[in-house]
Amino acid sequence: MIPNAKVCLYPKDTQEAVRVLSQLGRRALLLAGGTSSSLSKDPSVDTLVDITRFGYDSIELKDGFWHIGCNVRMQQLAEHQGIASLANSMLCDAAASVGSTPIRNAVTVGGNLVQLNRWSDPPGAFLALDSQVVLLGLEGKRTLSIDEFLSGSRNKVLKPGQLLIEVKVPAVDGRIGAFEKFARTATDFSIVDCAASLDLVGSKIRSCRLVVTGARSRPFRVAEAEAHLLGKRLSMANISKAAQLAREHTRAIPDTRTSVEYRTRMVEVVMSSVLHKCMTLSREGR
């Protein structure tokens, strides 16, 4: 409950939303799906801004990118045919792993990326797919790589009053990909997720992005494991080594679910599993 909110505004376009948010500053609370924002108890907020009425709720293929609007819900992303054709549907798998059906019916792509909890699943898949994030503020649009969006300090990357309006995922054919979430139950928060996307030339790896989520406060790429795979084949030995490097280069954090030791160990297990899946897919010729 937001105790002192007097009105709720429904901007009809992104410009109006940015204007209102910039004008009101800390007096305004932006609501998307509401799954986190509705629980705010901030007493300085007197105006709610529901951004789900200004569109940006569809997924379109344009100029070589899949444009995913900030108001697209997780269930919609999980079920999208076009997105399923991308890197063996790894982004659909990541979206489908978010909470339960009613949670996915509410959570938006934008809200999920901005909220960015330790265990948020989709951001790691976006990172593995080399996506871009489009921000909009009073000064105009700014497109940045997902690497930059996820690594920068929150308030610097997304300034107060700015909106994340869409995510762009390169519509590259032929990438092999896999995503896996490891959690206590089907609907619980992740302990560790891994995501991999690989570009093969013949049987050799030309480029790859290997991502660990949940082990630290943000998803990150494991550069050492990626470097190990470059120019090589996806063999059992190479997979074991890459997964081991992923473990060695993860300084995990503990929480109420698991210890540092367990979480660190699971990074190797889940990364190995994801890469084995990629190996099987590559042998099936897809």
Partner: protein, 153 residues
């Protein structure tokens, strides 16, 4: 703030603070099938259909439903004239204390509206957001199957 919302096909005009949790507002206005379980999105006791999709009323504030359409279990049927889904829950022994039942019934409605012939695996998936602490899930899944069968006819 004035909030216009359609509930179970009828238009309502609320004078409510837009930041109040929707679950509390619905109960205050007599929609008592919507239950308070956990208040943080885990249990499904507060399920409603919002524009046809099952969501949590405990994770929405009143302002977010202005101009939108809600269905609660009250909107499906009555004691004298139950909806086939409600009747199937009764006939299958899928109700013990009944606290989870309105949510289960609504998740079933959302599923069957989209997919009239789901298999058991799909039913489990569609009910993944609804916890039951007494009946267990076998009879509930039976009830969904039974409802699907009856609604086909």
């Amino acid at each position: 703030m004035e909030i216009h919302v359609t509930i179970n096909g009828k238009q309502h005009l609320w004078q409510e603070p837009p930041g109040e949790i929707l679950l509390n507002v619905l109960r205050k206005h007599g929609f008592n099938s919507v239950k308070f379980g956990c208040g943080e999105g885990e249990c499904g006791a507060c399920s409603i259909l919002l524009d046809g999709k099952s969501v949590r009323a405990c994770l929405l504030v009143a302002g977010q439903v202005h101009g939108r359409e809600i269905v609660t279990a009250e909107g499906l049927g009555t004691v004298d004239d139950p909806h086939p889904i409600q009747q199937a829950f009764v006939d299958s022994g899928a109700v013990q204390c009944g606290f989870c039942t309105p949510g289960m019934v609504l998740s079933t409605k959302a599923l069957l509206d989209k997919e009239p012939e789901p298999d058991r695996a799909r039913i489990k998936q569609a009910l993944d957001g609804n916890l039951c602490r007494c009946t267990g899930y076998v009879k509930i899944i039976d009830a969904v199957e039974k409802a699907a069968e009856r609604m086909k006819r």
